[in-house]
């Protein structure tokens, strides 16, 4: 842990000005459950921290708007998970939050910070003893020939196979969410599917955000698929654990046939992973155990096993299949 200054800008403009004036050691913070944790591990060592959790309007949640759900980046996970009506209309979104972390963490953590949580790769978190391209570019990747049980089977590279660990972003990916950000260069809107990057040869760069860009809100287009949705998460214990495999799915049916399907995978890939080919393959099909399994197989096509994580390919297939059958019951 290293000394740092802590300030609370009064407006978004102030926050952006302050971060632009600083260098890479200047960082936003909201709930601090990712950033402080990594600071205590000496994996992150910012010198200046700008608390954006109480900026005006940043914690607003609005579901009354006819076109979209709006989640302020500063809203707590618990506030979204318990927001009136959301569980009935978008169970996948609520389940993704409910099944994440612990009650204490959900009370602290913000929806914007959640999107930017960093990998749980133990070699990354373990510090200087271990080679890690993400923490120390060019040092190698200890996971590639190491304990990779929890590492990605999709989207990895020869430089990094770290899983994107979050749940919320996976559910958002299934619903075509977008993220409104604002930086020195002005505001812009990024599709959530383009927020996170695969590691390629630069695993230290995790998102498409510029350093001075502040996430203001997340917007989710309203859709009738919301009701027939689920976030199915398989983990090593019943609570307080990251996904071994998870699937956010949503369905629109014509009788027994699928009219439209959404499938996104969590816990398996280096970023929230939308399985579009699997979705298209389902359209027009009668949904049953066999077609659900086929969708799972399509979703995991191209997955690459390492040393200890091969079982998660089959687990991912079954998770998608089960999720589709759960969602079907909600139609």
């Amino acid at each position: 842990m290293h000394p740092f200054t802590y300030t609370k800008p009064r407006t978004a403009q102030d926050a952006i000005r302050a971060i632009a004036a600083g260098d890479a050691g200047t960082r936003f913070i909201a709930g601090g459950t990712t950033l402080y944790d990594l600071m205590k591990l000496d994996v992150e060592a910012p010198r200046q921290i700008l608390d954006v959790s109480t900026l005006p309007g940043i914690a607003t949640i609005d579901t009354a708007n006819p076109r979209e759900l709006v989640f302020g980046a500063g809203a707590k996970m618990v506030a979204a998970a318990t927001h009136a009506g959301l569980r009935a209309d978008y169970p996948a979104l609520v389940e993704a939050l409910d099944k994440a972390a612990s009650q204490q963490l959900r009370n602290m953590a913000s929806l914007g910070g959640n999107l930017l949580q960093r990998t749980r790769c133990n070699y990354f978190r373990g510090g200087a003893a271990y080679a890690c391209n993400k923490r120390s570019p060019g040092s190698g990747c200890a996971a590639l020939n190491g304990l990779d049980r929890g590492h990605a089977v999709l989207g990895g590279s020869d430089s990094c196979i770290a899983v994107y660990p979050g749940d919320w972003a996976v559910a958002l990916a299934a619903f075509d969410a977008v993220v409104d950000v604002q930086g020195t260069a002005g505001p812009r809107t990024i599709p959530l599917a383009q927020l996170h990057r695969e590691p390629g040869s630069t695993p230290e760069t995790e998102t498409s955000l510029a350093r001075d860009e502040l996430i203001l809100r997340i917007r989710v287009p309203k859709t009738p698929l919301g009701r027939a949705s689920t976030y199915h998460k398989i983990r090593d214990r019943e609570s307080y654990a990251f996904a071994l495999a998870s699937a956010a799915v949503a369905l629109r049916m014509d009788g027994t046939r699928v009219r439209e399907a959404r499938i996104a995978l969590g816990g398996l890939a280096t970023r929230p992973w939308r399985a579009s080919v699997a979705e298209q393959g389902l359209v027009g099909q009668v949904l049953n155990a066999a077609t659900a399994r086929a969708a799972g197989e399509a979703a995991l096509r191209g997955a690459r096993a390492g040393h200890h994580n091969g079982f998660r390919i089959e687990l991912g297939i079954r998770t998608v299949a089960d999720a589709l059958l759960i969602a079907q019951e909600r139609v």
Partner: protein, 733 residues
Amino acid sequence: MTTNTFPDVARIDAHDKVRGATRYASDDSRPGMLHATLACATIGRGSIQSIDTSAARALRGVRLVLTHAELSRLQPAGFLLAGGYGVQSLQPLTSPNIAYFGQPIALVVAETLEVALQAAALIRTAYAVEPHQMGLDAPEADIVAQQESPLPKPMFEDVHVGDADAVFAQAAVQIDATYASAVQHHNPMELLATVAEWSEGRLTIHEGTQNAEGVRHGVARQLGIPAEQVRVISPQVGGGFGQKNSLQGQTVLAAFAARALGHSVKLVVRRSQLFHASSFRAATRHRIRLGADHGGTMLAAIHETDAQTSRHDLFPSVNAEVSARLHGIANFRARERLVRTDTQTPGYMRAPFEHMACFAFESAVDELAQALGQDPVALRLANDTQRDPVTGKPLSSRHLAECLRRGAARFGWARRSMAPGSMQDAEGQLIGWGVAAGAYKAATAPAVARLRVYDDGTALASVGVHEMGQGIRTALAAALSRKLGIEPDQITLDIGDTNSTPQHITVGSWGTATAVPAAVEAADAMLSALAELLPGDAAGRSPAEILRAAGRRSLDVAIRRKAPGQPDAVFTRLATGLPAPLGPNYPDFVSFSYIAHFVEVRVEPTTRRIRVPRVVSVADCGRVISPRTAASQVRGGVVWGIGAALREASEVDPRYGGFLNADLADYVLPVNADIGDIEVEFIDRADPLVNAMGIKGLGEVAMVGVAAAIANAVHHATGIRLRDLPIRIEHLM
């Protein structure tokens, strides 16, 4: 002998604990106190070539940085199992040698914890790296046959009765299987923490420990001062489980720094450091051969164990002590081997040997039942014994058969269909029902008890024992209250403090059987002494009334007590902080506690998650002194068993050494949502031989056999026999 049962009373410190009012060493804060933290090695083995602490020392607020350069003159405290006091023989910071990943290399003391942490991160170390070895598949040179090792005999002698090899070879039905477990770490809520304070040449140590007397004598030896100048205070331990059973590496560092600085110093070992700073449950591998006739009589068994130890110590392996006693098997041979690894020395973690020994053996018994087509409860009942199979001596008491019968009835075992995979619930989940037995030695340690009653109706009791959440304060208060007629909240218990009576190590489930009979004996002595104050006139009067009638303000008694058959020399060991227990082998009998666990698992048909909705455990621990805390002990033991069977593993990357998942998020302990119904029942029958109150022990037997019952249930649900712990989703895919 007490024959009636004890009432169900609440834990006397329950409210304090729930409100967070109970203070532990790491909560301590006193004027002028400085904060210390450790910096640790990042190589698997080797030595420090140079260590640059200049940046750390230059930091504002840093008061002291210690490395091996400053501490090389500390005297060794010795390893607990080699006649010493330490959790291992190696005291970090006394040499440049690095024996294992995570070994502390420097201590930083600063005015605030934040500065100490920052300074520790500024220390730069250059190492000469040597190869290290982490696993059980080690070269021959790293494998030690315990029988031929310097470990004392007969204590660590391989069990050998009859001719197991010949009888096994001839047996009509043979099971031959190997079982194993990963390393596991204790993770009590309370971290290892020491607050050291000097005053006029005397050292006071506040530390949660299960062995205040051992810490006192060990640290005195390390510092080269008389033990009389050291006081260790441990009124509450925030979870021990064997981790805090001896002198830890951090204690002397805090004491040394506090003396050098003239200020009290607090040193908390962080959670990530805990995985390398203290002991752990060794990785073990067990080959079990079990032979029976067609009728199901177990004729012979061979139990061969490879257990991990460190390169610098021999941590013994005593697995067959219990596996040879579970059933009446006439021919038994064990071979215990130790495998040297480059880790800190492993140690005692709740049911340290018994958990895995019984996992292996009771899995093999289940495999035998399967091979014979017999019901696993019936098979165990048919092989019961009332004589100790190893020594031929009588057993002080053994009600395992009754545990099995009562457990089976309560669980509804009769409704179990025999074939694996034959039971399902309405949602298509596979149901598995498994059973296993467990046993744990009933040992006893010597104790001194002092009791004082006052004319205002209060009392003060001192006895050697530590409260670590097991509820010994509640049990002591209940037993004393019943004898003396003084309300429990009027009795002050002075335990875990070396200024009180000698504080013998509280482990091995001997705490209650040691301390409660001693306290009650003191109470009996008190009643006699009170009667003498008012000859012929004491009957029907409370102690306070007698004192007032006799014009006395208070009255003191003291007694000392040892295990049946122990020589008086044990009191010298007691007084010098050395372990002095006896059991399970007493001169005239052998004594064990027993338990039977019945477990239901549900296995998801697709993603193969295993859940444990229901456990029934019936224990024979002799007389139950404190029913509420006893039941809570068993539930805690079952939770540990669920963790050990289905969750916990310390991950080892052999390239680096050490343990990789060193935090509470990544070391997968069970959480509340993992735990279903746990029903606990006691035989509650006093043991006639082991002590006057008929108490055996409970804390560890509680978890023995749980893992086997779970694995047996998983087999019953799925037909898949899993012999390596922990069992996880991938093993059923």
